[in-house]
Subunit: 139 residues, 2 copies
DNA sequence: CTTTGTGCAAATTCTTTGCACCAAA
DNA sequence: TTTGGTGCAAAGAATTTGCACAAAG
């Protein structure tokens, strides 16, 4: 089975009807774990799909987020960023280069949903920011 | 000493030159721990300060954030929200009513900056979202 | 005076909406 | 067919910028 069909199946797990565009966006997110913005996804897919519109990227990502297939990160106030890795992990954003890094190795306790009286928690987001090692070494 | 002068002193601690507008914004934030948006701050102050402009609110809050006097929350993707409480605490946003609650009672361990090789962390943001008890009880 | 802050209007950026056309079942 | 998806253009909302005037030291 080729990659395209694998992604079809993957989308169906989340109750998302596959289309050429949706499959391309998910394929991109699974292959590029860089927490891309809408703009970056569009710029990357557009050359191979000349009729692709930014509206479709918006529609597609909103659908993915609604269905729980993708996380929309709030870490970057300027632009929404998307992450197809929905397992428990935190993020670090460099205030100098803007890159967003995954942090998988943190204590899993961090992601436990605290018991809050009467509140139903359905998502947890843990974000750090500062200066990454690459940027620090430039000085 | 009146409240106005207290806030003057408070601003100076952060190396912020006080002005009537800046003092009013900080006074508002200290008195309304509701994580207001720019719009809400403007709407609230504008009647008593008819010449106040939204640009000044933007300028002021950007300055406060740069100086570390106020936190800009990313929890609400739609609008920036501001918090004059800079002590360690998390937030919960209700997806139904949009209200942002403070969570002070969580384990302080959550706010420790993890040791990441070569990364300098200067801020930590922990955000939960779901349904708050008021909204839950409406059903 | 001189520097800094304010506020209007315009510009920019990001995202959503309305609607006609297209594609798949 | 009929339903749902796509994509263009326009609208809307949030934020930033340019610039002239005002305020404070």
């Amino acid at each position: 089975m080729n990659n395209y069909m694998q992604i079809h199946k993957y989308l169906k797990q989340f109750d998302i009807k596959p289309s050429v565009q949706r499959t391309a966006v998910m394929e991109y997110l699974l292959a590029h774990k860089t927490h891309p913005t809408i703009e970056e996804i569009y710029a990357s897919l557009s050359p191979q799909m000349p009729t692709l519109s930014k509206t479709t990227i918006y529609n597609t990502l909103n659908l993915f987020v609604d269905k729980g297939a993708v996380l929309q990160l709030a870490i970057d106030e300027k632009n929404a960023r998307y992450d197809a890795d929905i397992s428990d992990h935190a993020h670090f954003m460099c205030n100098s280069c803007g890159k967003v890094y995954d942090l998988f190795s943190l204590n899993k306790e961090l992601f436990k949903k605290p018991a809050l009286e009467g509140f139903d928690i359905n998502s947890v987001e843990i974000s750090y920011s500062g200066i990454c090692s690459s940027c620090k070494n430039l000085n």
